[in-house]
Amino acid sequence: MSTTNALVSIDHFRMDFGKTTVIKDLSFSVKKGETFGFLGSNGSGKTTTIRALLGIYQPTSGKLLINGQPYAVNGDVKLGYLPEERGLYKKEKVLDIMVYFGQLKGMSRSQAKNWSLDYLRHVELEAKSTFRLDKLSSGQQQKVQLGIAVMNNPDLLILDEPTKGFDPINRRLLMDIIEEHQQKGATVIFVTHQMEEVERLCDRILLLKDGQRRLYGTVDDVKDEFGTVVLEVVSDYPIPANEKLYSIERKEGKVTTLQPKANLLMIQRSLTSSGVTYTRFELKRPSLDDIFVKVYGGTTEEKSYYA
């Protein structure tokens, strides 16, 4: 595993909880300034890995380093962390909470206050700054928590399921904030199973399954190496099965995704002769979503590009 220029390096990490092994043997690195997608289904061990990286859990074995050192709260890397388990001091005022965390992160009281008010203005919550947190909607609370995570311009931003609980508008706002920090040079670890955001934001990804690395590399590499091209047909008619020419991978409304086994002309002829008319007939690379589904369908062998 190359660790050149790596801000985060995880080497042969294993994590047992009693007799249960959550992470078997995980190694990867995250380069300085990149946005890294840490993917996996629920319970695959993503959060456990992050908690171990931050010293909240003690690993059973292996090394988890940030800038060559185990994470220390007063270390040289400024951390912004949005945990999966969301929560803040519900009975306190929004601004007070933000200022408290700002000060914990090393800002002066006035810096923290000014920064917080700017942020609240940016996310249209300025009017709620003196409200108790529990008087805010859950989406608004999420925004406050995201603000706390990105306070003090972190060098490393770890966002565990950041879009959880956000509506599409706020999801876009969140993505903008993340992009803003990307542009400032922050290294971002994006823990999620939402593939759309990963495709949009991430330079490289790692897909975790059963406590092991299943896919690891840039988004393009993973797509190129993993998936053969798929055929997407949009039609009002059901696509008949034809094992000789194609297999049907997925059907969502009018869109049927086929895995072609013959050339496209033969498939087109077959569909026409079956009386199927279509509005779209298009070859597509598999999306990360497709790859995710396939991996968790248990059909994928481990593919590694940076091992």
Binding site: R51, L54, I56, Y57, Q58, V73, L79, Y81, P83, E85, R86, G87, L88, Y89, K90, F101, L104, K105, Q145, I148, A149
Partner: protein, 404 residues
């Protein structure tokens, strides 16, 4: 009320399955039983000691202007008849004799004056016991109805004891300054204990702990909480005390409140220092215990049961208070004074009444300090490993078993 039965059954059965319920439920009868045994033993001892006090032998001078006291009785206790009160007082003051009784001419109208060498707040009562016994036995031995009628009336006694330096002993006033720490400890734990507990569980319940742990060290957080709680408790104390004191001075005349002359309050610097140190260390220890308990429990509700047990352990010894005063050397008092969880009350009480020698006090304080450090270390460990256990409490095996 549809489904009421189902709800009640569910709530009762799930509560009965909780260990915390049984710990709280059983802790009370067990501790009450233990304390009851201590009280029984304590009462027996106190009763016996009370009888023994009157029978204790010491040098005695008596002036009997009432002519009621039978000379044979005085002889029996080895009393010397003295011509006047001034000589008797001076003899006690100078230490020539241990005690002097002055029976006035009209017993029913004037108080019997008792003077004695200070032998400790509670043992000092031996003088009055004997003076009363001599008078009552003498009156009982006569058949004169007018004299016997004195038995029906209340005879009052004025007792004065002298220190070894010949100064008048302040008696119960001595308790006030060092006793304040006992009251403070009780007040702060009783009013603030639950807040200590919830200060930790609340963060777990609010799920804020993960962000905190990624931002500051658990030790910093826990010790920070410890100090903030002490400050808050002090603030709360002042908020209650200041208006009370101000009110007393502003309205004591209007409300006819008794006049306390604080200048006469005896100040024993050693007892006050010891009391302050015991109070601070005990409060720190209990705050650390309650915080540790909070760190191990998923919710304040679950911690509540254990909180009850801790409180019973802390204040249970109060019921054995007579024993701490009258029998400080007894085994049970020694055990309760050295066992850290029960030590604060006996130590503070014994210090207040003046039967806590310096060396045992320092040993107990050292034990309390070691316990506090140990509890804080365990608390940090539990906090670190248990902080993310949002829905279950950590077992002892897990706490000890996890690698640090």
């Amino acid at each position: 009320m549809h489904n009421l039965g189902t709800v009640v059954r569910f709530e009762v059965s799930r509560t009965l399955k909780k260990k915390s319920f049984w710990i709280a439920a059983l802790a009370v009868p067990i501790i009450v039983g233990l304390v009851g045994a201590v009280i029984y033993f304590s009462n027996k001892t106190t009763d016996t000691q009370s009888k023994n006090l009157a029978n204790e032998h010491y040098s005695l001078g008596v002036t009997d202007n009432s002519h009621l006291i039978v000379p044979e009785f005085l002889k029996a206790v080895g009393a010397v008849q003295m011509s006047d009160k001034t000589t008797g007082q001076a003899a006690v003051k100078s230490g020539k004799i241990d005690a002097y009784f002055y029976y006035p001419t009209e017993i029913s109208k004037q108080p019997v004056e008792v003077y004695g060498k200070d032998v400790g707040l509670f043992k000092n009562s031996r003088y009055q016991e004997l003076a009363d016994q001599l008078l009552k036995q003498s009156i009982s031995s006569t058949t004169n109805p007018s004299v016997r009628s004195i038995l029906q009336s209340t005879v009052s006694y004025n007792q004065t004891t002298f220190t070894s330096k010949g100064e008048v002993d302040k008696g119960f006033l001595k308790l006030i300054a060092p006793g304040i720490f006992l009251v403070l400890f009780y007040f702060m734990i009783a009013t603030f204990g639950n807040q200590i507990l919830t200060s930790v569980t609340e963060e777990k319940e609010n799920r804020v702990i993960e962000m905190i742990l990624a931002t500051i060290k658990p030790t910093t957080l826990l010790v920070g909480k410890l100090f903030s709680l002490i400050i808050l408790a002090l603030i709360q104390m002042f908020v209650i005390l200041l208006p009370t004191i101000a009110g007393y001075f502003l309205f004591k005349n209007q409300l006819s409140l008794p006049n306390f002359d604080l200048s006469t309050l005896p100040i024993d610097p050693v007892a006050i220092t010891l009391g302050a140190v015991i109070f601070i260390v005990s409060y720190l220890m209990y705050t650390a215990i309650l915080m540790t308990l909070g760190a191990a429990m998923p919710t304040a509700k679950e911690a509540g049961g254990f909180f009850g047990a801790v409180m019973a352990l802390t204040f249970g010894p109060l019921y054995a208070a007579p024993l701490f005063i009258t029998s400080p050397d007894s085994l049970i008092v020694q055990i309760l004074s050295y066992f850290p969880l029960t030590a604060p009350i006996p130590l503070l009480l014994r210090n207040a009444v003046g039967n806590l020698p310096l060396v045992p006090a320092l040993i107990s304080i050292t034990i309390l300090i070691i316990t506090t450090i140990f509890v804080i270390r365990i608390g940090v460990r539990i906090f670190r490993f248990g902080a993310l256990e949002y829905s279950r409490k950590l077992s002892l095996k897990e706490i000890i078993g996890r690698r640090s």
